[in-house]
Subunit: 408 residues, 2 copies
């Protein structure tokens, strides 16, 4: 039996950062670029807005013409015309003002807009009851985005606001990083396809491949299911080599028994340097995790238990996908603050991932640990999230405030 | 000019719940069911696991045969064979034990498993150095899921763990709710397609449709872009009627100017009862929001400013999509706790959505408000998230702890 050399989760993440990086880029239309990652810095080709615009419905004027105006003593201005939406504004004559709707172009000569509610129109004369400052109620050309500046950096995830920025600049296509192809291979003589209608005794359906595939897909990967390999060194080795050729990242699911682990580790060593990078992680559940670099590609060997497999993939598999996508580091993790309803015991030297159910009690959010075994998928589907107990902790007492990471 | 009757955001969400509901179901394969919503309760067709399994590598035995065993005095058992993965286990002879790998089937007659490391094999005899209790190291048939129980309730979002549960049960297809078709129509004489290469003075590209479409797509909708309508009552009315026929939910973008708002409201009233439900929301930015029910379908009129439009869609548009998807209410919102670096002033009676930039300072997460105008898309792309200042608050002081909702 091999002795495990366990690595801390922080070190595994560092090893992932040091060993893997972005796969390269491709051009896509921005209407299909949502949730993709920017492949090279985007430079603004023009100013936004492209002209000075009014932020209100009102009258464009020279601010100095309103100086001293008030409720009791309006400034009197000639009505010099109207700005139409979508059209160039007329020039502002001296001593006049021009009607401008919200978003309309500011006439040349004007430097402020007085709001409609601060004015009164009497024939061709506009009474202006408020003094306005230069620049008031105007967005200047280039105030949102200036031509030539880096508007989106390489590595940025394209969310709705970024898509809006690109559209406002008239950028119709952009360079994004390619979607990593993630291959998933299941092993284990007891594992049969999930489509098996009636299970003979001793056999179980392959649920991990599909569950892990769903996590990877959500993260922006394309999935290639490699099927199920028998627990035999030769079949396993050729299956791994074959799928590794076709993908950017290979995930091995199952093979939790000691014998399988041994030849999995052996095959990963034989596929070329540096081979195995991690052969066990100080995490509960999820200790029997393998990470290798074979032919420059990451290979992640997941523990066989469903809960462990999903935990480990959520932590390390998604970190690998982020690296392959060239995504910038995510510094901030959103969590739900909750009060723990029961003690969580923990051993120092090991990071614990504890499933919790959330509930509201007297307007306080309460987290109740679900202490099922890691073989039980149900406990994961029933839990809304996870609490992480760090390696140096001996546990968390009931009543403490905990940060719950939601499973979405 | 119409006077706005503003509604609180809580009331808008209540109105959405009361007026709209799930669209109906369709059957999909589970490998394509990720991020869909369960359409009807899923009943477990069988037990999981389907047989008693070992959770360790070891020897299956009768627990009573190990009673009194210890380091100094092992229990001696005959090695009665081996369980092979994927095969039915042999029967356990009296006074014997049988080797069983992790996940292997427990032989009939055995009621516990002693771990490999607590044993020693001497020829045909296994020395068992530890007493085990009945049930130890065994997952019982049906312990994860029992046949006949409701395993996933209608309205549940299908995340990775749920997909795993379905696969483990051999469920290959299931009923999910249909994806809502969301139509997006832009209005405004100044608005031109985002694909316009060179902008004439006074015109702006339509960035909202694409940005809002991306939010809706991420929420599980299918998007139909209806293009840009001119600011004219007739064109607008026939455009709205035409797209409304083809979709489940119509979003109107733009039309922030007072004139446009007036005929938008008029058209939404004319399309049939109940017509307008909300004609302004006590939210900053985002006040000029319209919500209507026309021909039983939701119609949401977004404010024209890009930041307001995205805020409002993130809040109410996604709530409408959740209702159409029949998704169960999400009770828990994950946030980032941060220390506010500057005061946020606020008027009571109005809920404020304040964009914030996050940074780390001496290991403390700091949130800095971005006080750009709501016309500036850039400020949204630069901010990682939002702080909500409730209507009853007069603002938040620098140094306070705030909950930041991330923009993902």
């Amino acid at each position: 039996m091999r002795l495990l050399q366990v690595t801390s989760p922080e070190d595994v993440l560092r090893i992932i950062r040091e060993n893997f990086s972005s796969l390269g880029g491709e051009t896509v239309e921005i209407k299909h670029a949502g949730q993709r990652v920017v492949g090279s810095d985007v430079i603004a080709p023009e100013d936004v807005p492209g002209f000075d615009r009014s932020t209100v419905d009102g009258y464009a004027l020279r601010a100095c013409d309103s100086f001293g105006a008030g409720e009791a003593m309006p400034a009197l201005l000639n009505l010099g015309g109207e700005v139409r939406m979508g059209e160039a504004a007329p020039h502002l004559p001296l001593g006049a003002c021009i009607y401008v709707p919200t978003g309309g172009m500011i006439p040349e000569g004007a430097d402020a807009v007085v709001m409609l509610e601060d004015t009164e129109v009497l024939g061709d004369i506009v009474n202006c009851y408020r003094q306005v400052a230069p620049g008031e109620n105007i967005i200047r050309r280039g105030e949102d985005i200036s031509r030539g500046e880096v508007i989106l950096k390489k590595g940025r995830l394209l969310r709705a606001p970024e898509i809006g920025v690109l559209a406002s600049l008239g950028i119709t296509d952009l360079q994004v990083t390619v979607k990593p192809r993630v291959g998933i291979l299941s092993t284990g003589d007891e594992i049969v396809p999930y489509t098996t209608a009636s299970l003979p005794p001793g056999q179980v359906r392959d649920s991990n491949a599909l569950a892990v595939g769903e996590l990877a897909r959500q993260k922006g990967a394309e999935i290639i299911y490699g099927g199920i390999l028998q627990d035999s060194y030769e079949i396993f080795k050729s299956g791994v080599e074959e799928l590794l050729e076709q993908v950017d990242f290979l995930v091995l699911s199952g093979g939790s028994s000691v014998g399988t682990r041994d030849f999995t580790a052996q095959v990963l060593e034989e596929l070329g340097k540096p081979g195995l990078l991690v052969e066990g992680v100080a995490i509960q559940p999820g200790k029997p995790t393998l990470l290798a670099k074979c032919r420059e590609k990451p290979v992640l060997g997941l523990p066989g238990h469903p809960v462990s497999a999903l935990n480990i993939f959520a932590l390390f598999g998604t970190a690998i996908i982020d690296r392959l996508l060239g995504r910038e580091e995510q510094e901030f993790l959103a969590t739900v603050k909750a009060r723990l309803s029961k003690n969580i015991p923990s051993r120092t030297g090991r990071t614990d991932f504890v499933r919790v159910k959330l509930s509201k009690k007297d307007n306080v959010t309460e987290a109740t640990p679900v202490f099922g075994r890691s073989g039980l998928l149900r406990t994961l589907a029933d839990a809304q999230g996870l609490v992480i107990v760090p390696a140096q902790s001996e546990g968390v007492l009931a009543g403490s405030e905990v940060d719950v990471i939601l499973w979405e």
